[in-house]
């Protein structure tokens, strides 16, 4: 059985992951897709103006990747702190 100290460290690491991943979540959608979209539109990627692409497709694709990364990180973290389900 793990001690109390470990639980707190587990929770802190979890929160760190979430903060970092949500910062990316916010940047791709609200910054790249909305606020700075006009500026990014000057760059073209595979025929798409970049800001438009972030708004239209890029954000959605990155959202899926973010969840996948979160799932991987958390599964590893659960095992590291020995709090995974048996």
């Amino acid at each position: 059985m793990a001690g109390k100290q470990d639980f707190e460290a587990y929770w802190k690491e979890n929160l760190t992951y979430v903060v970092i991943l949500l910062a990316i979540w916010f940047s791709v959608s609200y910054l790249c897709g909305i606020v700075f979209a006009d500026a990014l539109d000057h760059i073209r990627l595979f025929g798409f103006p970049l800001g438009f692409w972030f708004a239209n497709q890029g954000s959605e694709v990155i959202f899926v990747i973010l969840i996948a990364v979160y799932v991987k990180l958390m599964n590893a973290l659960d095992i590291k702190y020995d709090v995974h389900e048996q």
Binding site: F7, Y10, W11, N14, V18, L21, L22, W25, S29, Y30, G33, I34, V35, A37, D38, D41, L45, F46, G47, F48, P49, G51, F52, W53, A55, N56, Q57, S59, E60, V61, F63, V64, L66, I67, A68, Y70, V71, M74, N75, D78, D82, V83, H84, E85, Q86
Partner: protein, 595 residues
């Protein structure tokens, strides 16, 4: 075989499939009924959540909506997907660890208060009913367009099907049916999109195709020279006086920002979505199934903007300045259904498309009257303030796709089945929330706490049956405010459930007084703002009068902030929650059961 025969066959086959699944997976216990005995594999749960989430509106209307809005339309794409990131990281694993059946139940236990639970029940029921009414109507509309039966008959057929598998199968039946429905709807959405992409760009993947250049065939069909499809679209739009397709236009940046945020947070606060994550066997599974759900949703949501661009360019290029006599056949087919209409304002026999509305108000046809070119005559008054002669309904951008791509009749039938699958799967998920709110949160918890397991299961079935009937009545006699109220549902979910659940998990100190006042302030502010601009004083509903330029659709974001602030401040001033509640919150954070 004709289109109608094909449609009956495909709809008949898919409906039998749904009924067969329901019989095979019927619920035997309340655990089966509410959360499918927590035995659903994450991939299956992801598919079911995807079908649950994507309604008739996502399937039929969204691409059209985006095609008229250009980049501004992205707020729906981002808003209705971004919420899953919040769900996966902030809600799903913790609520799964909590391990009970309903969202109001969590609110009641976490905030050690029956009244909080009752407030949550009322919100859940209100949000779900407004949604479900639209779905039932959607079923009726699809039936009437594709199968030529009256809308009301369509609603009743839809009711009978949902009644059967929701009442019999509960969450278990619904989940497995939704898996089948997802497969039907995604196939129906992708096939026409793929063929249109090949037709215009030569690329079989629509997601890449619309960024690419037009193919030889595409140039010939659209009568343009070579270049990027999006550049052509921007050019055509600007020639006709619209803003460029790939840059926003109609809405201010702050409004797009706020609406996107309200949709995301609203998604994460909708009870019929949250409840899906109660059905996986493990916490690991709950996290994963949010990812699977978003992947399955994103397949449709990244295709939709491609469909929007193809359809927009195709529509303008093949209709604008074309004489009615030479109009493509899909135009005349859909004219019959009233989704598209033309009035020759300048008397040149050709159709002109431009900025502005062709008619004043809802378009209606004069019975059986035809104009000089054989077009159907519109009885609605003409809007003479602009040169636009065409009325084009959003829905046509998806519905007419198979014909635009010259696909065989069975594809058109498949699209009909896809639309029905989208509407039925969403309706069923919502009905379950309503049923469990009644039988578990009200009857078991408040009215008859000693009810037996068997009795509760009967109550849940009766509640589901009752909810189907009420939803059907809403579908047959749609209250005029349904469309308005759907925006309301997101705002309410954003300003009520979301902050309270987040703080409930992440902040042990959040107290019942804080949560109650937070929910009440958040909801009251949001509701008052929406009611004022939508119902009390609709003529004032423009940017100049809005708070910081935020439209009623986006105001839920501010309501959410208010809820957070009030809950935190009041919690700081009141007594901290009892020890056992704090212990429960602590235990939510660790997947393993900790004694």
């Amino acid at each position: 075989m004709g289109i109608l025969a094909w449609t009956w066959v495909i709809v008949g086959v898919t409906f039998s499939l749904y009924i067969g699944i329901a019989i095979w997976s019927r619920a035997k216990t309340t655990g089966d009924f509410y959360v499918a005995a927590k035995q659903i594999h994450p991939v299956m749960n992801g598919m079911a959540t995807g079908a649950d989430w994507m309604s008739a509106a996502s399937f039929i209307s969204m691409a059209g909506l985006i095609s008229f809005m250009g980049r501004d339309g992205s707020m729906y794409l981002m808003g209705w997907t971004g919420g899953y990131v919040l769900l996966a990281m902030l809600l799903a694993p913790y609520l799964r660890k909590y391990g009970k059946y309903t969202v109001p139940m969590f609110v009641g236990e976490r905030y050690y208060s029956q009244s909080a639970r009752v407030v949550a029940v009322l919100c859940a029921i209100f949000v779900s009913f407004t949604y479900v009414a639209g779905q039932m109507r959607g079923v009726g509309v699809v039936f009437s367009r594709f199968l030529e039966v009256p809308i009301n008959t369509g609603v009743i057929i839809g009711m009978a099907i949902v009644f059967f598998y929701a009442v019999l199968g509960g969450m278990k039946g619904i989940t497995y049916t939704q898996v089948a429905q997802y497969c039907v709807l995604i196939t129906a959405y992708l096939i026409p999109a793929i063929f249109i992409s090949i037709m215009l760009t030569g690329n079989p993947i629509p997601q890449f195709g619309y960024g690419g250049s037009l193919s030889e065939n595409g140039m010939r069909l659209l009568g343009t020279d070579a270049g990027y499809l999006l550049d052509k679209l921007n050019q055509v739009q600007m020639d006709l006086g619209f803003s460029a397709y790939t840059s926003g236009g109609a809405k201010s940046t702050i409004d797009v920002f706020m609406i996107t945020f309200a949709l995301m947070v609203g998604t994460a606060g909708l009870p019929h979505i949250i409840i899906r994550f109660f059905t996986t066997p493990t916490i690991k599974g709950a996290r994963a199934s949010a990812g699977w759900a978003l992947l399955f949703i994103a397949i449709l949501y990244t295709t939709a903007p491609a469909v929007a661009s193809f359809a927009r360019l195709n529509m303008i290029k093949t209709l604008h300045n074309t004489s009615y006599a030479e109009a493509p056949s899909w135009f005349k087919n859909w004219e019959k259904t009233g989704l598209i209409a033309w009035k020759d304002k300048n008397g040149d026999g050709a159709m002109q498309y431009a900025k502005g509305t062709a008619f004043k108000g809802k378009v209606a046809f004069a019975a059986n009257e035809v104009g000089p070119y054989g077009e159907k005559v519109v009885s609605t008054p003409i809007d003479e303030s602009n040169a636009n002669e065409l009325y084009v309904d959003n829905d046509i951008m998806v519905l007419a796709n198979p014909e635009i791509a010259k696909l065989p009749a069975w594809v058109i039938a498949l699209v009909a089945a896809g639309g029905l699958a989208a509407a039925l799967s969403t309706a069923a998920g919502l009905l379950l929330v309503i049923a469990s709110a009644f039988s578990h949160d009200l009857i078991k918890n408040v009215v008859a706490p000693n009810i037996s397991e068997k009795g509760e299961l009967i109550a849940a079935r009766v509640a589901a049956g009752g909810a189907v009937i009420v939803a059907g009545i809403f579908g047959i006699y749609p209250p005029g405010f349904v469309a308005q109220v759907v925006a309301f549902a997101f705002g309410l979910a954003a300003s009520s459930f979301f902050p309270v659940i987040i703080l409930g998990v992440f902040w042990k100190r959040a107290s019942k007084e804080g949560a109650m006042l937070g929910m009440i302030c958040g909801i009251l502010f949001t509701a008052a703002y929406i009611i004022y601009f939508k119902f009390v004083n609709p003529s004032a509903n423009k940017a100049d009068n809005w708070l910081w330029g935020i439209s009623p659709e986006g105001i839920g974001t501010i309501g959410m902030v208010i809820n957070f602030v009030v809950t935190i401040v009041v919690s700081k001033m009141t007594k901290e929650p009892p020890m056992e509640v704090q212990k429960m919150v602590a235990s939510l954070r660790y997947p393993r059961q900790i004694s």
